[in-house]
């Protein structure tokens, strides 16, 4: 695990829907803000690779999965609620 990939995030989407675009821009924004330089975001389009849905137990889209660091965390929705996303990803402790 290299230093720049210390945070490995995956965003599962189903096509270029407004929700998935919004989710992507949101996570991009939060990551730039809090995890600059030490994160990578992989986008998986389930319409293209439907077989990948099973591995991460995806049922809702968009879903953001934090693969690294462990444990795996999942956040579903368009990530518009910043507070919940940051708490969910454990970037920010719950206050």
């Amino acid at each position: 695990m290299k230093k720049e990939a210390e945070w490995h995030l995956m965003l599962y989407i189903a096509g270029q829907t407004p929700k998935s675009i919004k989710a992507f821009s949101n996570i991009k924004k939060y990551a730039e803000e809090h995890l600059k330089g030490i994160y990578s975001i992989e986008i998986i389009d389930l319409l293209v690779n439907p077989q990948l849905a099973e591995g991460d137990q995806i049922l809702a889209v968009p879903t953001l999965v934090r693969r690294v660091p462990e444990p795996i965390r999942k956040i579903i929705g368009d990530l518009s609620n910043e507070e919940r996303v940051l708490v969910g990803l454990n970037i920010k402790p719950l206050k």
Partner: protein, 567 residues
């Protein structure tokens, strides 16, 4: 939705497309199966067999109808599921390897998921769609979909998505089974699935008097008629089977072939010398009147004729029955060994009535016997009310008649002093074709057994009460012995026999004496006749002597006369 069934004769021949369920009996109730290409909801409480029913639907679809399936489970991991149904003889791993089945475990863990904003369940759709496309599935099961509600917060989204899911399944053209937990006032917790499903089946698990019975009911079925009753069903080593109660038409074929009763002498009490094949016979009587013995005799006779027989013993274990019957010279064991006889023992309280009936039905189907013996039928009353017993017996008899099976039931009557029917008898007597009663006949300090025929449909029969004895050689019907006060039995019979013998000897003596008398009289008569004849003869002789003398005198006179004239 249910239009045009009665109003338009044109549509009468139209058959609603259905998918066979693979569950025995359920196809009959649903008149063909679940609606093809539409979602069906299976709901019920915990442990009522939802998962099993849906699993059977998928597996039978693959094995019997060559339709691939997708089983999406929200509750059990796929490995557990494989293990669970393996005990029922279903090998999921093999089917998976053959690319006919996909089991997808969707894990919804509330602690792992954080909700932040708008989302939809497209991921689930894609997953399901992918699985369906991979094996070209025709059958889909979602078990249990409302786990989603436990894992996710946003009810509004979920409800909307669920609605979309049902529509999506329809568009996919798959026959889907969705299971749901039973709600408090609605059929399902969310009160949603039952409205969007085309067919709703409720499973139920009820305990009445400590006996549990599983039941199934079709609540709705769009576009089709269906059985509306509650049907009991059974889960055993072959999975689920349902027992339809509906077929109660009396149009079974009848046979006029006669089967022997097996009891020497009893045949003779029937004009046809036995029972009709396919008829049912009730042997009733109080305790210890040899009902089981008669039943065993009948079983033995059928086995000897190489007819398959099933003996349901609700009182004795097979070993005990065999031992007891051997003591009177009825050896059933060889027939068990060569496969003509099956003895099936169980406690009546083991199951509800319906399950007993189902077991019977399964055995009849698997073994295909031509004779069934139930010993005793009255024990079943212990597990049900009179009405239940009656309805069960009606169905049982109906089923047996349909299969042209000769059935013999024994029934224990409680009333001791008379032969009038008891509960079980009363409830079945009108259904029974031949009714034989064995009874105790008590008197002068002993107890004897009598047998008589109460009725025998379509056949003349004896009206006598015949006494019978059971020795180590078996049952023996004795000839009727009539005394001054009716039929004599036991000691009275023996006394009567001795009396008869004595009087016979007496009579013989009398006759002999009379004979001698007559002989003597004849002798006297004959000697009298001789004496008279002698007398007669002597008179006759005298007479002829006289006549001769007279003739002589006349002749002499004649000789003298002409001389005088010539002079």
């Amino acid at each position: 939705m249910q239009k045009g069934k009665n109003s338009k004769p044109k549509t009468e021949n139209f058959l609603f497309p259905k998918t066979p369920t693979g569950v025995e009996g359920l196809d009959e109730i649903t008149e063909g199966g679940f609606p093809k290409g539409r979602p069906t909801l299976i709901c019920g409480g915990a442990g009522c067999g939802k998962t099993l029913l849906s699993m059977q639907f998928i597996i039978k679809g693959i094995t019997d109808y060559n339709e691939s399936g997708v089983f999406m489970t929200f509750e059990e991991p796929s490995k557990d599921l494989s293990l669970n149904v393996k005990s029922l003889g279903f090998d999921l791993e093999q089917l998976k390897a053959d690319k006919q089945l996909i089991v997808d475990h969707v894990r919804v863990e509330r602690s792992e998921i954080e909700e932040a904003g708008e989302y939809d369940l497209e991921g689930l759709f894609i997953r399901l769609g992918h699985a369906i496309d991979t094996v070209k599935a025709k059958r889909v099961v979602l078990d249990t979909i409302e786990s989603l509600f436990a894992g996710l917060d946003n009810q509004a989204i979920l409800r909307a998505e669920l609605r979309r899911l049902f529509q999506w399944l329809k568009d996919k053209g798959v026959t889907a089974l969705i299971t749901g937990e039973r709600g408090e006032t609605t059929l399902t917790r969310q009160g949603l699935e039952e409205y969007v499903s085309d067919c709703v089946i409720v499973l139920d698990h009820r305990v009445i008097d400590q006996v549990s019975t599983r039941r199934l009911r079709i609540v709705k079925y769009r576009g089709s008629t269906h059985g509306t009753n509650e049907y009991p069903f059974l889960i055993d080593q072959d999975g689920i089977s349902v027992l339809p109660i509906t077929s109660l038409k009396l149009n079974n074929e009848v046979s006029s072939e006669i089967v022997s009763t097996g009891v020497p002498g009893l045949d003779g009490m029937f004009e046809g010398r036995g029972f009709y094949r396919g008829s049912n016979i009730l042997v009733s009587g109080t305790a210890g009147t040899a009902k089981t013995t008669i039943a065993a005799y009948f079983a033995l006779e059928q086995c000897k004729r190489k007819e398959k027989t099933v003996y349901f013993a609700f009182e004795e274990s097979p070993q005990q029955l065999i031992r007891n019957m051997r003591s009177i010279g009825v050896d059933l064991e060889p027939y068990i060994k060569n496969g003509y006889l099956q003895i099936h023992s169980s406690r009546p309280s083991l199951n509800g009535l319906e399950l007993h009936l189902l077991t019977l039905r399964k055995m009849i189907r698997d073994f295909n016997p031509s004779t069934v013996i139930i010993d005793p039928i009255s024990n079943l009353i212990a597990v049900g009310s009179e009405m239940e017993v009656r309805s069960m017996l009606v169905r049982l008899i109906d089923m047996l008649k349909l299969n042209n099976i000769t059935a013999l039931f024994t029934s224990l009557s409680k009333h001791h002093d008379q032969a009038r029917p008891d509960l079980a008898e009363e409830s079945v007597s009108s259904l029974i074709d031949t009714w034989i009663t064995v009874r105790d006949m008590e008197g002068i300090g002993e107890r004897n057994r009598g047998i008589f025929i109460i009725k025998s449909r379509g056949m003349g029969h004896s009206n006598q009460v015949r006494e019978f004895v059971i020795t180590n050689k078996g049952i023996q019907l004795l000839d009727v012995e009539l005394g001054p006060n009716g039929i004599l039995t036991g000691m009275a019979r023996r006394t009567h026999e001795i009396d008869k013998q004595v009087s016979k000897i007496k009579l013989q003596g009398e006759i002999d004496r009379k004979d001698r008398d007559i002989a003597r009289k004849r002798k006297t008569l004959e000697s009298n006749i001789d004496a008279l004849r002698n007398e007669f003869e002597s008179v006759q002789e005298e007479l002829s002597l006289l006549r001769r003398t007279e003739e002589l005198q006349a002749n002499i006179a004649l000789e003298h006369e002409p001389k005088q004239k010539k002079k």
